[in-house]
Symmetry: C2
Subunit: 201 residues, 2 copies
């Protein structure tokens, strides 16, 4: 059966975004990544940088220590923390987009949020640490000082965020229809496999 919606969850630096974009182009589906953040920004009035960082990652140690949201001293948005408020709005935007048109959605627990639909293909993209470290230094212009530490921090914060809102372990096969190692399979071949599955070929 053809799939109308593709969710792409990915380890940081695995090339998951490139794979998602390529699959969307080849399928003629709308690609939601920055555009999703823009929509959430319109609804929440949060800064897009805040959404980009907190819509998918648990707050870092600094944010936990100093933000009034996480120190327990502040209540706003009707008693909801900014972090939880962002989740609610982001979830609603994802549900609306999935209703609206065939699309590819990157990250943001979309696999969990859309779990009750039967026209969704959930993909997970991962790669070994050395492949990802090389990639973030070379392509994203990240500092080449300890890229492995940055990757571990990103993975861990993504896992905490996913667990917090879904109750599931992030990156465990059983959450997905397919999981692909982009280092051994290659970015273009990963996109091709997703496209064929989405088309029901």
């Amino acid at each position: 059966m053809a799939k109308r919606i593709i969710t792409v969850s990915r380890q940081f630096g695995s090339g998951g975004r490139s794979i998602a974009k390529l699959a969307a182009q080849n399928l003629g589906y709308t690609y939601y990544d920055k555009e999703l953040i823009k929509r959430v920004a319109e609804e929440t009035h949060f800064d897009p940088d805040y959404i980009e960082e907190n819509g998918e990652y648990a707050p870092g140690r600094t944010a936990f220590s100093f933000s009034p949201v996480f120190s327990g001293s502040a209540h706003y948005m009707g008693g909801m923390s900014a972090y939880d408020f962002l989740w609610v709005v982001q979830r609603n935007v994802i549900l609306e987009l999935a209703d609206k048109e065939p699309c590819v959605i990157v990250g943001r627990c979309a696999d969990f949020i859309l779990r009750d639909r039967d026209d969704v293909l959930n993909a997970f993209i991962y790669a070994p640490m050395d492949f990802r470290a090389d990639r973030i230094v070379r392509l994203y212009g990240e500092s080449d000082k300890k890229p492995e530490e940055r990757l571990k921090n990103k993975d861990s914060r993504r896992a905490v965020n996913y667990k917090h809102f879904t109750g599931r372990e992030w990156g465990v096969c059983s959450n997905y229809d397919i999981a692909l190692n982009s280092a051994s399979i290659g970015v273009e071949e990963c996109a091709d496999i997703i496209v064929r599955l989405a088309r029901g070929e």
Copy 2:
């Protein structure tokens, strides 16, 4: 790059064996499952049923309680337990088969044993519990009394065996090049994806 060896690890009842067999047929590769057990039986003089059960599963509670091998009271095979001796022979047979000819090997930690080769594609096949429970009752003629318990027991003993000999967690994406949910993707499509990847298409 084309892959000469395919390893297929699988959750019990997921259809991994059918997928491996189909992929081997389509690729023209030798399929090693029962034949592997036969070879190991020739080398070890163990009963094939013992190999089938203990070459991939940690011993069940009964075996731990009553077998002299696990009670610590017996030393044989040069101080090696039967369980460890089976591992050593099984490992050597897998290394020899991989050297000999293009093949598909089901289970038995072959992904780990062949990790130093660069012509191997490692696939993991999984499926939700209800799909597997229905499958083992319908196709394998298993009792329909508590099939979920039997599946959990099998999964857990496979994970313990894998951890014991490889130090890795069984079924975690990062051990494999590709992980496929056979319930949502379908047995034939899973085999097709593996065939295309093996051919480097």
